[in-house]
C-alpha cells in the first residue's frame, strides 16, 4: 500500500527538520522519496504536527514481574478497563494494564516502539509470551546481568573475553537486546536478607566500592566489566544501569560515582552508559526530613560528560505500582509504606520486588520527587542524551506522558502544580526558578529521535528515506499554538494521535485503534570467534546444572517461540 501524508508540519530532529511543511511518502513498510499522488491514499496533514512514531526505551510492559504486579493488584483492574471491539481485545489495568491494551494505549499516543527494560534470563520465555500478545508495537527486552554469578566469576578472574562470550551466548539463547545492570551487588546481598550490608550501601557516596559478602566483587568492578564486555561485543545499546542506592536520600553522589566509574572507557562522543530513571537516584540530603533535589549536581556532570545518557523516571501524582529488579529497595519501600509486598528472587542471576504506591501532591517527599524529574530534563543542555520516561509504572503509568510533555513545554503548567505542593518541597528544588520550555523539536528528540539513536535502531525515530514507516500525526498546529499557554491542548493532542501509522498501515485514526497488527521483536545476535564460543560453552556446560535447576538445553529459546523475530547482528572486536 502507498500512503502520502501531505503538507504536515514535520519535526524530524535526526534529519534536522524543524517544523517544515512537507510531504511524507510511504510505500510498503518504509518511507520513500515519493509516491504517485493519484494512486496513494492521501492524508491531509495541513496544520497538523507530524513526527516519527514514538520510541520508549524504558517501560515495564512484559515479563514475570509485570505479570506478578497484575496478579498483585486486582483493584487496579477494576477501576480501569476497556471493552472488546471489532478490532480490539478487552483488558484492564491502570498501572498494570493487561498485555493487549498496552499496545492499544501506546499506539493511541502515537508510540510505535517500546522496550521492556529488565528480565531475568531464565524467565525470558515469559517475556516473549507476553510480547506475542502486545499488538501494534515493536519490542525488545534488556537482560539482567548485574548480579549474575557467571558474570561475576569471569570478572573476578579478569576474563573479559570469556565474559563477553557468555553474555553473547545468553543474549542469543534468550533473544535479548542489551545488558541491564540493576543495583549490582546488592541484589545478591538481599538474597541473604543481608540488611546490615544493604544499610551500609544505601546512601553513602563510596558505596560502589563495597565488596559483596561471600564474593568480594564490588559494584564498580561489575559495571566496568560489563561496560568493557558491551564494547567488545559492539552491542547496539550501551549498558543500561539502574544504580545502587535507588530511592535513598543522598544517593545522587552514588549516581555520579557510578557514571564516573566508566569515564575512562569512553571513546569518541558516543554514550557508553545509559543511566536510567535518574529521578529515583537524584536525591540530596541525608534523610527524608532534609531531602532535597540533587538534579542540579547530576546534570552538571551529565552536561559535560558525553559518555553518559539518562532518562527521567518522572513521577506523576497518582496511584501506581512500583516494580523493579531491585528487590532490596522494594523491601525497604514495603517497610516504609506498609503496603503489600511481593519479592521474587531468581536463582543465579537476579531478583525483583513489587509494592503499590500512591504519589501524593500533599507529601513533600513525593513533591520533591516530582520536581527532580522535571529539573533533570530542564537542566539538560543536550536533549539527545536526556529522554522522557516515567519508568512506567514506577513513576506513573505511561498514559501520563502527555502530562509530562506539557510540563516540559510550559512553565505555566508547572507553576500550577508548584502552587499546590507543600512549601517545603518548593524550597528544596530549583524548579521554580527555571524558565526553560521545551520546543516541539526538543520533544521530538527526547521521545523519538534520541531514544531510537541510543537503542541503535537506525530505521526508527526519524522520517528520512529508508526509515520504517512508523508515523504519528497530532492535532496541533505548531505554527499557531503557544504551548506555554495552551498546555491543555498539548496534553489532549498528545493523548490521542489523529493518525498513527505502523509499518505503512493506518492503525489509529482519531485517537481510536482501527486496525491491530503484530509488532516485531528485536534481539541481538552477536557474532563471535567460534573457538572462543566453544571454549566458553564447554566450561559453561560443566557448571550449568550445578548453578541452575533447569538444563542448558531448556534455557535456550528457539526462534520460533519469538513473535516476528527480528535479529540484529553485532560484531565482536
Amino acid at each position: 500500500m502507498e500512503l502520502l501524508i501531505k503538507n504536515g508540519v514535520v519535526y524530524d530532529p535526526t534529519n534536522k527538520i524543524d517544523g517544515e511543511v512537507m510531504d511524507i511518502a510511504i510505500k510498503g513498510n518504509k518511507i520513500v522519496d515519493k509516491v504517485d499522488e493519484f494512486k496513494a491514499y492521501v492524508i491531509d496533514a495541513s496544520n497538523k504536527l507530524v513526527m516519527a512514531g514514538g520510541v520508549d526505551l524504558h517501560s515495564h510492559i512484559a515479563g514475570p514481574k509485570k505479570n506478578t504486579g497484575r496478579m498483585l493488584r486486582p483493584e487496579d483492574h477494576y477501576k480501569d478497563f476497556e471493552l472488546k471491539t471489532k478490532v480490539k481485545r478487552s483488558g484492564g489495568g491502570y498501572s498494570t494494564p493487561s498485555s493487549f491494551i498496552i499496545g492499544y494505549r501506546y499506539a493511541e499516543m502515537g508510540y510505535t516502539t517500546v522496550i521492556e527494560p529488565a528480565n531475568s534470563p531464565i524467565k525470558m520465555l515469559h517475556c516473549h509470551h507476553e510480547f506475542r500478545d502486545i499488538p501494534l508495537l515493536d519490542k525488545a527486552c534488556f537482560v539482567l546481568f548485574g548480579n549474575n554469578w557467571f558474570v561475576w566469576e569471569y570478572l573476578m578472574d579478569n576474563k573479559i573475553d570469556e565474559c563477553a562470550a557468555y553474555v553473547a551466548w545468553v543474549l542469543n539463547a534468550t533473544k535479548g537486546y542489551a545488558i541491564k545492570i540493576v543495583d549490582p551487588g546488592c541484589v545478591e546481598a538481599w538474597k541473604w536478607g543481608d540488611v546490615e550490608f544493604l544499610d551500609i550501601l544505601w546512601g553513602r557516596p563510596e558505596t560502589i566500592d563495597e565488596p559483596v559478602p561471600r564474593f568480594g566483587i564490588t559494584s564498580r568492578e561489575i559495571i566496568r566489566g560489563l561496560c568493557k564486555v558491551n564494547k567488545r561485543l559492539n552491542l547496539p545499546h550501551p549498558i543500561h544501569v539502574h544504580a545502587n542506592g535507588l530511592g535513598t536520600p543522598g544517593n545522587y553522589e552514588t549516581t555520579i560515582d557510578t557514571m564516573d566509574c566508566v569515564k575512562d572507557l569512553a571513546e569518541e562522543d558516543r554514550p557508553i552508559m545509559h543511566m536510567t530513571h535518574v529521578q529515583f537516584n537524584g536525591y540530596g540530603g541525608s534523610d527524608w526530613v532534609n531531602l532535597r533535589s540533587g538534579a542540579y549536581e547530576i546534570m552538571k556532570y551529565v552536561n559535560v560528560n558525553k559518555h553518559v545518557a539518562i532518562d527521567l523516571g518522572q513521577v506523576i501524582f497518582t496511584d501506581t505500582t512500583t516494580m523493579t529488579g531491585d528487590g532490596p529497595f522494594e523491601y525497604r519501600l514495603h517497610r516504609l509504606t506498609k503496603n503489600k509486598w511481593t519479592n521474587a528472587d531468581v536463582e543465579v542471576e537476579s531478583g525483583a520486588g513489587i509494592v503499590p504506591m500512591h504519589y501524593k501532591r500533599s507529601s513533600s517527599v513525593h513533591a520533591i520527587m516530582w520536581t527532580i524529574g522535571l529539573e533533570l530534563a530542564l537542566f539538560a543542555k543536550d536533549p539527545w542524551r536526556v529522554f522522557m520516561t516515567t519508568d512506567h509504572p514506577n513513576g506513573g503509568p505511561f498514559i501520563n506522558y502527555p502530562k509530562v510533555i506539557s510540563w516540559l513545554m510550559s512553565k505555566e503548567a508547572r507553576q500550577r502544580i508548584l502552587n499546590k505542593i507543600p512549601k517545603r518541597a518548593r524550597t528544596k528544588s530549583n524548579l521554580e526558578s527555571i524558565d526553560r520550555e521545551y520546543s516541539f523539536y526538543e520533544i521530538a528528540t527526547s521521545t523519538r529521535a534520541a531514544t531510537a539513536k541510543i537503542l541503535g535502531l537506525k530505521d526508527k525515530g526519524h522520517l528520512g528515506v529508508g526509515a520504517d514507516a512508523d508515523v504519528s500525526i497530532y492535532d496541533i498546529d505548531p505554527k499557531e499554538i503557544d504551548p506555554s499557554k495552551d498546555y491543555k491542548k498539548i496534553r489532549k493532542a498528545f493523548s490521542n494521535a489523529i493518525f498513527t501509522i505502523k509499518e505503512g498501515e493506518i492503525v489509529v485514526k482519531d485517537g481510536e485503534v482501527v486496525k491491530s497488527i503484530d509488532g516485531r521483536v528485536y534481539w541481538v545476535k552477536p557474532d563471535l570467534p567460534s573457538d572462543l564460543m566453544d571454549a566458553m560453552e564447554s566450561e559453561l556446560s560443566e557448571k550449568f546444572e550445578d548453578y541452575y535447576t533447569i538444563t542448558m538445553e531448556n534455557f535456550q529459546i528457539p526462534e520460533r517461540f519469538v513473535a516476528r523475530s527480528t535479529p540484529i547482528p553485532a560484531y565482536y572486536g
Binding site: G91, K340, V346
Partner: protein, 431 residues
Amino acid sequence: MATFEDVVCPICGCLCDDIVATVEDNKIKGVKNSCSISATKFLNYHKHRLTSPLIRKNGEQVPVNLEEAVEKVAEILTNAEYPAIYGMALSSCEAQGLGVELAEEVGGVIDNQTVTCHGPTALGMHDMGMPTCTLGEVRHRADLILYWGSNVEESHPRHLRRYSVLSKGRFRKEREERKMVVIDVRKTASARPADLFIQIEQGQDYELMSALRMVLQFDEIEEESVAGIPVEKIEELAELLRNCEFGILFFGLGLTMSRGKERNIDAAISLVRDLNKWAKFSIMPMRGHYNVTGMNEVTTWQTGYPYAVDLSRGYPWYNPGETTFVDILRRGECDAALIIASDPLAHFPKDVAQNLCKIPFAVIDPHPSVTSLVADVVIPSAVTGIEAEGSAYRMDAIPLRLKKVLDPPSGIYSDEELLQMVLEKVRSMRG
C-alpha cells in the same frame, strides 16, 4: 530408536526437565530420571485413549468426524447466553491463550483448576503480596525448609531431591546443613525425612500461625496449647524459624482447602513477612498440575486476573465466589460449557456436578473421564508434553518448553489446534 534428552515432565508443578525418553516405532520404550508418577504417565499415556470425536444423539454418544464435532462445540457455545470454558491446567500456554480468546469471543467465563486448589493463594496474594523466590534459590541457600499441609513426598516425589532438603547447592552441600520441618494433620510419608514433625489439629492452621507470630514478637501466650501443640513446642519452632539464615515455607492444599482458606494464606504470608525481620524468608505454593501456574499467568496477562474471569460484559470482570465456575454452576446460571483437559464431574460437589449434567457441554481430552462420559460432544486430543509441544510454567513461574517426543495417533490434534478450529468456527457462525 531415538533418544530424547531434557524432556520436560508433564505431571506436577515440579516440571522436572531432565527426563530422558527412548522412542521406538512411535512408542516410548523407556524413561530415565522419572519419578514413579512420571514414568507411569510416559509409559502408559497411550492406553485408555479416546479415539474418535463423539456426539450424543438420542442419548447415545456416537462417533462422528472432527468437523462435525467442532461445529457442534461452536454451536453449543454460540447459542449459550452464559457459557464457561474450564480447565486447561494440563494444556500448553499457547492453548490456554486461545481458551481466553474463545471465552471472550462467546462472552463467557474462563476458569481453571485453580478454583479447586490454590484459588485462596491468589486471594491471599491480592491482600498481602507474596515474598517468594525460585526453587534454585532454595537449593543454593535454604537452611530451613518448612512444608505446611503438603505431603510433598507423594504429590511431588522429586521435590526434595531436586530443589530442597536433599539437593546440593552452592552454599548448602550436605543434608546436615538444612533443617526440614513438616506440619500436617497426620504423619504422612513426608514426615519421615523431617527433622521436626508437628501434628496439628484439623482446621487449626490459622490459630497456629497467629500463635507463632505472637511468640516471634515476644508476646506471651496464656493458653497451654494451641492447635493441639504445647506452647513450649511452638516457642521452639519460632526460635528455629527466627534463627535460620534462609527459610522457605512450602504450603499445599492442607492450608488452602481447609477451614479458613484465604485467611490461612493471609496468615502464612504475614508470618513470612514478619520473619524477614530476622532472616531471609520466602513462601511458595506447591502447585499440583504441571501447568496450572501457566494458566494463571496467561489469564493474568491477557485479562488482568488469574482465574474465574467473567468476559460476558465485554470486558474482564473478576469476583471469585461470584464468577468462579463452581459458583455459576451451583446457582444454575451457566448454560453451556467447554471442558478442556479436566474432569470436574469427578471433583466438584454433588449439586454442582448435577447442574453441569443438565446443561449442554463439550469435552476436549486425550482420555475418557467421568465428565467425558456425560458430555454432549467429546473431542480427543493429543497428550501435551508427549505428543504436542508448547510452553508451561513451573510452580515458581519459570517457563519451560514442553517437548513433542512422538506423533499423536492419526486424526488426533493438540488442544491448541482444536481450540483454533473451534474459535474459527465460532467466528464464522457469529459473522
